[in-house]
């Protein structure tokens, strides 16, 4: 897995470790064979088995248990999304998580549901430097798909980390884009205010956007990526920022959230 930036731009390479939890699947519909049970089904070579607990979806989401009703109805098929610095103390990594419940008899099936998730782990410094690029990339490419039962375990547990080449954004370009957004959109000012107020007060807070604000998760992640890219290096609560889509649970710290089925009329109660 290797992606390149357009020629002529300044670029940087980002290495992504991968971990999948769920069940192995087979066949065209990716249904789960009767003998298959839950487990970590893929772990890239630089992760250890002790990372299984640290990167488990409930822990990353700060939940006792990940449940189907926590996934926004508009995000059920693809799953919810989370980006944050990993919650272990003094963590040097950031994680991107996609998690969902899918039927054991395939995505269009009607069988029992089970949990399927995929995690990317990157250096926290990369997340700090390239939030816009990483959010765009994770938003489009991180999928909670089951691994294949036919694929040998030794292959799945020695997978090389994915490497992506991202374009290093010029701060002037970021400011220019944000200035445009401040003029033309209604998300830019509240988002920047939210981040500024969060730095000032130190309180936990969640800013929730809905379908009236963004047409898709990709649009939300593009917008939030731009806002985070604009934050100065000295921003004090960077490690507490989480970007969430499709999850009806508020993270601690500063949480920027998108719920695709949330409409303006319902927002007051959900955001409360």
């Amino acid at each position: 897995m290797h992606r390149a930036a357009p020629q002529g731009d300044q670029t940087a390479e980002v290495s992504l470790e991968r971990l999948h939890y769920g069940k192995l699947a087979s066949g065209a519909t990716l249904s789960v064979p009767a003998a298959e049970g839950y487990g970590v089904t893929l772990r890239s070579q630089n992760l250890r088995s002790s990372d299984d607990r640290l990167l488990s979806p409930p822990r990353l989401m700060a939940l006792r248990r990940f449940e189907p009703d926590l996934v926004d109805p508009g995000a059920r098929r693809r799953g919810c999304f989370l980006a944050r610095v990993s919650p272990e103390p003094d963590s040097r990594r950031a994680i991107f998580l996609r998690a969902r419940f899918r039927p054991e008899d395939g995505d269009d099936g009607h069988g029992r549901l089970y949990q399927q998730s995929a995690v990317w782990s990157v250096a926290a410094a990369d997340w700090r430097r390239h939030p816009a690029a990483l959010l765009a990339m994770a938003g489009s490419e991180l999928e909670a798909l089951p691994d294949l039962a036919s694929e040998a375990e030794c292959v799945r547990f020695s997978a090389a980390p994915a490497r992506y080449v991202v374009r290093v954004l010029d701060p002037q370009d970021v400011w220019g884009a944000l200035e445009d957004a401040l003029d033309k959109t209604h998300w830019a000012a509240p988002t920047l205010e939210f981040l500024a107020r969060g730095a000032e007060t130190g309180d936990d807070a969640t800013l929730t956007y809905g379908a009236d604000d963004f047409a898709s998760e990709a649009a939300f992640l593009r917008a939030v990526g731009l806002a985070l890219q604009f934050l100065p290096a000295s921003y004090p609560r960077w490690r507490e920022i989480s970007v969430v889509s499709g999850l009806r649970h508020e993270s601690q710290g500063l949480c920027l959230r998108y719920l695709p089925s949330l409409r303006a009329a319902a927002r007051t109660s959900v955001a409360a």
Binding site: A35, G37, G39, E67, P68, L113, Y114
Partner: protein
């Protein structure tokens, strides 16, 4: 006096542990068990705080409200087809059990009971034979401790040919380890065969009548247990040297039988395995008109009360016909 009890649910994956638990409160509420109707048990989900509080009394407001929290979620998931329990933790559900009617004094005087029922993924305790299942060590250790600390264990097995099940070896090893653990607090162990309704799928409206005959259940249990490797190990647990554990066998069905029509409650016109439901309604309400679970309270009530019903069978009852024929 309130007695606190811990009950561990174990068994292979897809055996029906969570479904059994999800249908428990409805089974008690509908008296769809093999105990005398005069027993009048009451069961109410409680929170963790209520479970550990001293002198817990049911809140009056709770009488008028639906249950909230984890158990309500489990019931909702069951209504929507079920969710496979993950291997990332074990999950505790807590209840307050009362016996409001007639029962032997030895039972009644112990109550009410606060039950902690522990559910976990089948892969943790009974993984498929020969499979290398990567389970988090802390979860394995937690479940092992919960099993050793539990006063009762309920082993939930699907009603399949056990010798071909693909997990019977690991189940036998688990029972061996439990039997040999000197520190266990186990007093009662119930083996329950789930999905009992499937045996009667071809009997249509006569299905419920046959299912309600304890002699039929006893025959099914004898047949199912004929070839299992761990039967003698369980029997040894009943001896004083083995811990003096009371072992019982029973059957149950979370889907149960259709009210009025009496056939097994699996709607052939719905995709997947779904119960019959009232069109136009959503959630649990859609099923209530037709759904009568079958004996899913049995293993829990025996595990808590140590009181037999018409459908809990001891080794003596299982052995009776063998002795007769001998």
């Amino acid at each position: 006096m309130t007695e606190r009890l811990s009950i561990c649910l174990i068994g292979p994956k897809k055996g029906g542990k969570s479904s059994l638990l999800a249908s428990l409160v409805d089974c008690v509420a509908q008296s769809a068990f093999g105990y005398s109707p005069r027993l009048r048990p009451g069961l109410q989900p409680v929170t963790e705080a209520e479970f550990y509080a001293e002198g817990v009394e049911p809140k009056k407001a709770d009488l008028l409200s639906v249950e909230q929290g984890d158990y309500e979620r489990l019931r909702r998931d069951f209504a929507e087809g079920g969710v496979a329990t993950d291997t990332l933790d074990t999950y505790e559900y807590r209840f307050r059990l009362t016996v409001n009617g007639e029962a032997p004094p030895a039972v009644v005087l112990r109550g009410p009971w606060l039950l902690e029922i522990i559910d976990s993924a089948g892969e943790i305790a009974v993984p498929p034979d020969g499979a290398e299942v990567a389970i988090l060590n802390d979860v394995k250790a937690k479940l092992a401790k919960q099993m050793l600390d539990a006063e009762s264990v309920i082993i939930v097995l699907p009603l399949v040919r056990l010798e071909d099940s693909g997990w019977s070896g690991n189940l036998a090893r688990l029972i061996d380890r439990l039997a040999l653990a000197p520190e266990k607090k186990l007093k009662r162990l119930v083996v329950v065969f789930s999905q009992y309704e499937r045996l009667f799928a071809r009997l249509g409206p006569s299905a419920f009548t046959y299912a309600c005959d304890p002699a039929v259940a006893l025959h099914v249990l004898r047949k199912s247990l004929r070839t299992v490797q761990w039967l003698d190990r369980l029997r040894a647990m009943e001896t004083p040297d083995g811990g003096g554990v009371a072992v019982r066998f029973t059957v149950c069905s979370a889907y149960g039988f259709v009210k009025r029509f009496q056939n097994p409650n699996i709607d052939p016109h719905q995709p997947g395995e779904r119960r019959f439901r009232r069109a136009g309604l959503e959630g649990a309400r859609a099923y209530n008109e037709y759904w009568r679970p079958f004996l899913t309270a049995e293993p829990f009530l025996y595990a808590a009360l140590g009181h037999d019903s018409a459908f809990t069978f001891s080794y003596a009852q299982l052995d009776a016909r063998l002795e007769e024929s001998a």
